[in-house]
């Protein structure tokens, strides 16, 4: 009987270890999310600098986020593209262009500009969208490496390898993978500034993994907590 109980305990402990690890990993992702940006109702500006070989382009977006599932992104520059809007509700996303006057359903993984996916700007809460698992450690950068797996196939990336600083839980680097396991692009997070009491990143460099000459830089500014009326996030009112 004692022998049977001992085997049972060993068996339970053996299987419990990954659960502890997963829970800790998820907690780590939540802490890193806090350093990637404000989490509840807030607004910010995002400048996207896109480089494709010798070609350069620049766009500025006004982003309004109600919660992890609801956001509105409006392009404000260049002037010739003004008025384009992206509305995200849950895992659904619609694009509104002033000329067409009708929202069109699109996906989070589609490109907004350069190597920047729609979800890179509108949906940035990894703890909400991915199941985290400890993968290893990087001695050079003193970071914990996590494997994130999408909890729904409609989120922006199928898998992410994520580097989080052991010292201050800052996100340092992410590798984004397709469902096939192919590395698509790499992001590095930097320029941390104190915003509403917490140090948060204000720069992301996204590097194409296939074409090295393609790079996008996202610069975050004017991050502040703000509340919005529900009507702002309504598909039928996107032409407002």
């Amino acid at each position: 009987m004692i022998r049977l109980a001992s085997i049972a305990i060993i068996f339970i402990l053996a299987f419990q270890q990954p659960l502890f690890a997963d829970s800790a990993a998820q907690e780590l992702v939540k802490k890193a999310d806090l350093r990637r940006g404000l989490q509840n109702s807030f607004s910010m500006k995002v400048k996207a600098l896109v480089q494709d070989g010798a070609d350069r382009s620049e766009a500025i977006y006004s982003v309004k986020v109600r919660d992890a599932d609801t956001s509105l992104v409006e392009q404000i520059s260049p002037a010739r593209a003004q008025g384009r809007k992206l509305l995200m509700k849950g895992l659904a996303m619609w694009l509104f262009t002033p000329q067409v006057k009708k929202p069109v359903r699109i996906s989070l993984a589609q490109k907004l500009t350069g190597d920047v996916a729609n979800g890179d700007i509108s949906r940035t809460n990894y703890a909400h969208d991915y199941e985290a698992k400890l993968s290893g450690e990087d001695a050079a950068s003193q970071a914990t490496i996590l494997d994130l797996t999408a909890n729904d196939k409609r989120v922006t990336y199928a898998k992410i390898k994520y580097w989080i600083s052991k010292q201050n839980f800052r996100p340092l680097k992410a590798e984004f993978y397709a469902l096939s396991g192919k590395l698509m692009k790499t992001a590095t997070f930097s320029d941390f500034k104190k915003i509403e009491g917490t140090e948060r990143m204000s720069k992301v460099i996204i590097q194409d993994a296939v074409v090295p000459s393609k790079k996008s830089i996202l610069l975050y500014s004017e991050q502040k907590s703000q509340s919005f009326p529900d009507s702002l996030f309504n598909k039928e009112q996107m032409d407002r």
Partner: protein, 421 residues
């Protein structure tokens, strides 16, 4: 018209004393100018047009009583300067100013009310959509021009009640408008050969009887799909014609007429593996059509059904495409036997983007019934942050329509400057 704007003005007056100090005003706009638009029409001959379309957007936004917002939007006013041709010998300049979207908007909680000139689109398809029936269409525009340059804004009261997923839209339009189909229109079926050797050109009626139009739409917008059901009672934007009783062979007068119709149907869109599928179904019982038989013009009421299926690819690295197929049928009861006329319409659009913002686009629309093909190839590139240029070529060709209306072959090339401010 006066009564409508009287109500809008009263509405504004009631709200204005309660407007808080933190109001916001902004002004922006866009203009599209086609230089050297060269048009070669096999009926009218070659010639140059100069075309200008301007949109101004002035916004006044202010919160009211803490929660509601009053939002005045004046813009999208359209000014066309068209140098057109009545015939080979005579050229005529047309300067027009059409109101665009100019409305007063108030929003509180789940309700949004708009009063004023508006374009309202319920289509799920792209291009020539059967379900884009609320606003009248300007047929002088190209088939491939964007909707805001093609559809005519009309006075309307537009109420939207929105929940998390479900929304109800109710529209009331006090003044009906009809499609614009001038004599030099390329592709509207407006010219009739009532007498051998003589083509009668149809003019737009000057005075048009007003109509009380109203309808509604119920929409479910979920994570995986959108679905809408709609019903509208309205005067047909498409005109039908009758011959004046006093007409003689040498002096024929056609009278434009609009019949009340009631389109109803469903639209839906859903995505699978990042591909977007769009579906439209619409029925219009007893819609009025012109019929030309042995030089005699008559009208006939037919049941119309239309189905459209569209597919949009995701925007891959540089390439994306859209495909759409529509089938419509007109059915009539002839001595107890149902006779059906079926039309098929196919649309394809290919986009290739390179150098980050330069777009190469090819669009084609094929009308199976009379084997007419419309094509546009365009190349657009940014010049500055506010200016974009486009070079385009359009061509269309097809045999004369079986009902006697003239379908003219057309070749058109233009350089277009888009400016935002």
């Amino acid at each position: 018209m006066k009564r409508f704007f009287g109500w809008a003005f009263t509405f504004a007056l009631i709200l204005s004393p309660k407007v808080e100090a933190k109001s916001r005003f902004s002004f922006s706009g866009k203009s599209y100018h086609r230089f050297f638009q060269y048009t070669d029409n096999d009926d009218l001959g070659p010639g140059f047009d100069n075309w200008l379309f301007a949109q101004q957007k002035a916004e006044f936004n202010s919160s009211f009583a803490g929660r509601a917002q009053i939002y005045a939007f004046a813009g999208n006013s359209k000014a066309d300067l068209i140098q057109a041709q009545d015939n080979v010998e005579q050229r005529k300049e047309i300067s027009e100013v059409w109101p665009g979207d100019i409305y007063l908007q108030a929003a509180t909680g789940p309700a949004l009310l708009r009063l004023g000139y508006q374009q309202i689109s319920w289509q799920e398809g792209i291009g020539l959509s059967y379900t884009n029936f609320i606003n009248a269409r300007d047929y002088r525009a190209s088939l491939f021009d964007p909707p805001d340059q093609v559809y005519r804004s009309a006075p309307a009261a537009n109420l939207i009640l929105s929940g998390e997923h479900l929304s109800l839209q109710v529209v009331y339009m006090p003044f009906a408008q009809h499609d614009l189909a001038p004599p030099f229109s390329r592709w509207a079926r407006v010219d009739f050969t009532l007498v051998p050797g003589q083509t009668v050109q149809v003019e737009n009626p000057e005075n048009f009887e007003s109509s009380q139009d109203a309808g509604g739409r119920l929409t479910w917008a979920g994570e995986g799909f959108d679905i809408s059901a709609f019903y509208f009672s309205l005067a047909d934007r498409k005109l039908t014609y009758t011959v004046a009783p006093t007409s003689t062979i040498t002096d024929i007068e056609l009278i434009g007429d609009q019949k009340k119709i009631s389109p109803r149907g469903l639209t839906t869109s859903f995505s699978v593996f990042d591909f977007l599928f769009r579906l439209e179904y619409m029925e219009v019982p007893q819609r009025r059509w012109n019929r030309l038989d042995a030089g005699t013009l008559s009208t006939v009421d037919l049941d119309e059904k239309a189905l459209t299926l569209g597919l949009d690819s995701p925007a891959w690295d540089k390439f994306s495409f859209s495909l759409q197929a529509s089938v419509s049928s007109l059915a009539e009861d002839v001595e107890g036997l149902e006779r059906e006329q079926v039309e098929n319409l196919s649309f394809a659009s290919l986009n290739y983007t390179f150098r980050t913002d330069t777009v190469l686009q090819a669009m084609a629309l094929y009308h199976e019934s009379d084997r007419s093909l419309f094509q546009r190839y365009s190349f657009s590139w940014p010049v500055t942050k506010t200016v974009e240029m486009a070079l385009a070529y359009e061509a269309s060709a097809g045999p004369e329509n079986s009902q006697g209306a003239v379908w003219k072959d057309l070749n058109r090339g233009f350089l277009q400057l888009n400016h935002a401010f």
